[in-house]
Symmetry: C2
Subunit: 370 residues, 2 copies
């Protein structure tokens, strides 16, 4: 059976070029970048070069790059590294790494404003601006929602943060790799996860721009300029840097390809199943469609699709198994019933038009057979 993977917001396949870059560590001599001998220096050289590549991608200095174990750690490091007081602005539809962490910090006395997003699917700049209080110490928002793909107006919100002098954490986990990213001086920190753009699982980064300062999540050795203790995951770092290098040169055609596949999927499904609805009125990122199949049980459809070899999701992977309708969709004001009828399709750069056409046919067949 041909298997078609349309769940690229959950994770992506490793790019063979990324794998090759990782071999410099995985197949190399033993080397801890902190060691002062030649083995260590060789590792340190690889680490430094990778850090420079990542810094160049985000237009920051190498000292502003903190390698972490992934997006969740990056987000936790920022949010838990702030003083646990004052006020933070976020939205109701953030990833669990932000949502649950802010809930935990709330119980310790932090005040949090959860901006509503409505059917638009993203918090609006004017809502961010009007939520600012004298004690607001940070804004934490995702660049694009992982379930609906709806983007925030990044330029406008970053400008507000810049003008008001409020640190702004951008959860860019579902943005990088999908569309060209341009940094903005109003963005203080960026959370990134490698496995969302064809680097391995277990590596991420927190871009933390001066003068923004946070306390480390874990202490010990002096790695990562004292921001993150522990021997560096060198193979992961080499993979992350290579994956970003690829994006630096190929993002534009990749985005065109993703948009082409997504629109082909959406139009193809609409043509065969006119009753479907796509969630999110706001502009969406190139690769993501959250689609309501009214009257159909999403979980059942997901299982039928899976049996037919097509992998899609019923919300974010992190929340899978929860057996509850997506928090993102219900917070948008979508009924529990319609949310439960919805599936997320997230195409990737390794998908083809042929796969999309086959997926459309398969879905239509399953639904008309029922």
């Amino acid at each position: 059976m041909t298997r078609i993977y349309l769940d690229n917001n959950a994770t992506t396949a490793l790019d063979p070029r990324v794998f090759k870059a990782m071999l410099a560590d995985l197949s190399g001599p033993p080397a801890n970048p902190s060691s002062t001998h030649s083995f260590g220096k060789q590792a340190k050289h690889l680490l430094t070069k990778a850090r420079e590549q990542v810094a160049a991608f985000f237009s920051v200095s190498p000292k502003e790059v903190i390698f972490t174990s992934g997006g969740t750690e990056s987000i936790n490091q920022f949010l838990r590294g702030l003083p646990p007081k004052g006020h933070i602005i976020t939205s109701t539809i953030e990833h669990a790494a932000t949502h649950r962490t802010l809930q935990a910090l709330e119980s310790q006395g932090l005040k949090v404003t959860y901006l509503p997003v409505g059917l638009w699917g993203a918090p609006l700049p004017e809502h961010v601006a009007s939520a600012i209080r004298p004690d607001t110490q940070a804004i934490a928002l995702s660049a694009a929602n992982s379930e609906t793909g709806v983007k925030i107006d990044l330029e406008a919100i970053a400008s507000i943060a810049q003008n008001q002098g409020i640190p702004f954490l951008l959860d860019a986990v579902c943005f990088i790799g999908k569309e060209p990213f341009t940094n903005h001086p109003g963005i203080s920190a960026i959370a990134v996860s490698g496995h969302k753009f064809h680097a391995p699982k277990g590596i991420g980064a927190l871009i933390l721009r001066a003068p923004c300062k946070i306390a480390p999540l874990a202490t010990g050795g002096a790695q990562e300029h004292m921001h993150r203790a522990g021997t560096e995951n060198l193979s992961g770092i080499l993979g992350l840097a290579e994956a970003l290098q690829i994006l630096a040169t190929e993002q534009t055609p990749i985005t065109e390809h993703l948009n082409d596949l997504r629109l082909r999927l959406e139009h193809g499904l609409k043509a065969k199943l006119p009753f479907i609805e796509i969630h999110g009125e706001g502009p969406r990122i190139s690769n993501t469609s959250s689609i309501a199949f009214a009257g159909i049980d999403g979980e059942t459809l997901l299982i039928h699709l899976d049996m037919a070899g097509i992998a899609v999701s019923h919300g974010s992977a992190c929340a899978s198994g929860a057996q509850e309708p997506s928090r993102v969709l219900t917070q948008m004001g979508i009924s529990h019933k319609l949310a439960a009828s919805s599936l997320r399709f997230s195409v990737g750069r390794m998908n083809t038009r042929e796969e999309i056409d086959l997926a459309i046919d398969t879905i239509a067949k399953i639904l008309y057979r029922k």
Copy 2:
């Protein structure tokens, strides 16, 4: 130039069998173990099997295995997961992940007893017992010191912890892979780092045995039974499990080999350089020798050895570059001068007798030429 790596306590080379085990993820289809479709189930199956293997190695239940990004995170997760009050017993010679973290927690009100170790090189069970107070909430000690290799009396200390009902965190980072490990009911938590035993950098584990409970370091998804949010580093986990599987069958001959190499090194050096002294009066682990070359500057000797292709260290890699004599040695009561004259040799299972003989000859030549 032949390069000889005698710094296996800093990091080790990946075992080719471990690399092969990692390929199931690195070369496999895209797969997030949290996804409910077949791609995800396949990843979940690999994850579950790896967790069972790790659990079997430590004689615990799979639910007691928390995969982390390494030893530092494991130690931080335990120590920072305790309520920040009461009293903790540790020693003066712990790794920075323990030492600096407890110092940070002290500033938040935690009380800490740092047991002295003297020239013996490890805290004694009777000192642990007499440091226990009514508010002692944990004991945190390393099984073997990373610099001197001196071991604690694990059986005795674990029995004290068990009898007194005090949670005991064992930092086993420098023990696993060196000698057979037998778990003890008095050990509540075990911190492990993959890259110290030929698994990759960036993966570790915290074994946390019921009924011991700690708060998570980072929150978000429900991974690792709610103990550690974030998509699992599956390739690293597969590597860690394979590395432990290898140890489960090969540890005894590996230990014999390491002891043989270490004793050959120590006796060979003593024969040619009778003035050397080996630090630590207590029983030492199979692979580690901290050797004082009185009257010689250790840093200079390290550089000469490095130029001759031999990699050793001047303390723990995490503290490298600090340009200060080892905290471990000076805390043992060794003078700053003698500590600064000392080098750590840590052999690995990939080293050979020929390499040891060449290292002995090279060291003797360098010292007699000076």
